[in-house]
Amino acid sequence: MADRVSIADGEADTAVIAEYEVSRRALVRRGIAVGSLSLAAASVPALLRARNAFAQAGDDRAIIEKAVGLEQTAVFAYAAAVASGRLNAKSTAVARLFGGQEQEHADALTAALKTLGGTPPPKPTAPRDVPGMAAATGSARRILTFLIALEESAVAAYYDAHQKLKDAKLLSAGSAIMANEGQHLVVLRQALDLNPVPTAFATGKA
């Protein structure tokens, strides 16, 4: 990879790029520092099980069944966040929007699962059904931090799924969903003044 870029119109000179790099490094440092603090406060260990959701899934049907479970969990978590009354108006609207999009994922994946002859797993009905959720209800910050951890676990799961899925159409659809979860992360991180895009490779494994 070239470290320097030759620009035809000459507007991006060396000094500009150098300044650019300094500000980039500063931003990245800030993101890493704040992000680490945030993760330490979250109930992440309990979510590690979700990160490995596809580890034991051997075929496409098993992978999609796990994915439906993840999406149902996200729907439940966003609905709980909205109902908590802890979020401000802007974050409440965001949680409502994202919950609806997770439902779209769940619906599409459920349709695919049925086509494959599978059955959707049971939906969560209480916070205790979602690892780490019961402890993440005290404040808007704790709720948003939990949702970030949940979305990161989903990105990690889809990242793993891309290495296991056999069906090309499922793979493309999984990509479109994984990308959407990444976009959710951007907005949630911004709500907590975190670096919105902390890494170049979104593997969900911070």
Partner: protein
């Protein structure tokens, strides 16, 4: 296909990855509902299909273009947007480096960046953001189309991590333009 034509012509953009043997997909939700309805949907290249090196080199060409675009647009950005643009430039460089390394490991030769790119004139920050948005959307669409054609599972994982990063860039760019940051539940890119 020449990258300059790809940038200036939407039709050419669609053809860009087709030239590498990668078809263009439609709405993913529809595709999901229809999955398993034919016998030609397995991942990896079919006989006579494009090898991973060619697909990765097409992706590298896009990444090199993105690097050049963010660098060219840098002087027009200000404040927090400038810092984010700098960060995105660095991340596109990381993508290009990773793809180049993968191509070498497969015995191929990475496509080199051009000496010059024929970008439109950026009169202000909004021009840069809109151009970057267009590039990122194209990249997402291209990666989603390319992924099922890649035979190596680990490379598919890497490609998914890159395309999700590009989707994250899109949300930031949309926000900077005052537009809804997550307009669709299925991110398939836009041309």
């Amino acid at each position: 296909m020449d990258v300059d034509r790809f940038l200036t012509s939407p039709g050419s953009r669609r053809a860009f990855f087709r030239s590498a043997g990668v078809g263009f997909a439609g709405g993913s939700a529809v595709l999901l509902a229809a999955c398993g309805d034919d016998g030609d949907s397995e991942t990896g290249p079919a006989s006579g299909a494009t090898p991973d090196v060619e697909i990765l080199n097409s992706a590298l060409d896009l990444e090199n273009t993105a690097v050049a675009a963010y660098a060219a647009g840098a002087p027009r950005l200000t404040g927090a947007v400038r810092a984010l643009g700098a960060q995105f430039l660095g991340q596109e460089r990381e993508h290009a480096a990773a793809l180049g390394q993968a191509i070498k490991q497969l015995g191929g030769t990475p496509t080199k960046p051009k000496a010059a790119y024929d970008f439109p004139e950026f009169k202000g920050q909004e021009d840069v953001l809109n151009f970057a948005l267009d590039l990122e959307g194209t990249a997402v669409a291209a990666y989603i189309d390319a992924l099922p054609k890649v035979s190596d599972p680990e490379l598919r994982g890497t490609a998914s991590a890159i395309l999700t990063n590009e989707a994250e860039h899109i949300s930031v760019l949309l926000g900077a333009l005052g537009r809804p940051q997550v307009p669709s539940a299925f991110v398939i890119g836009g041309l």
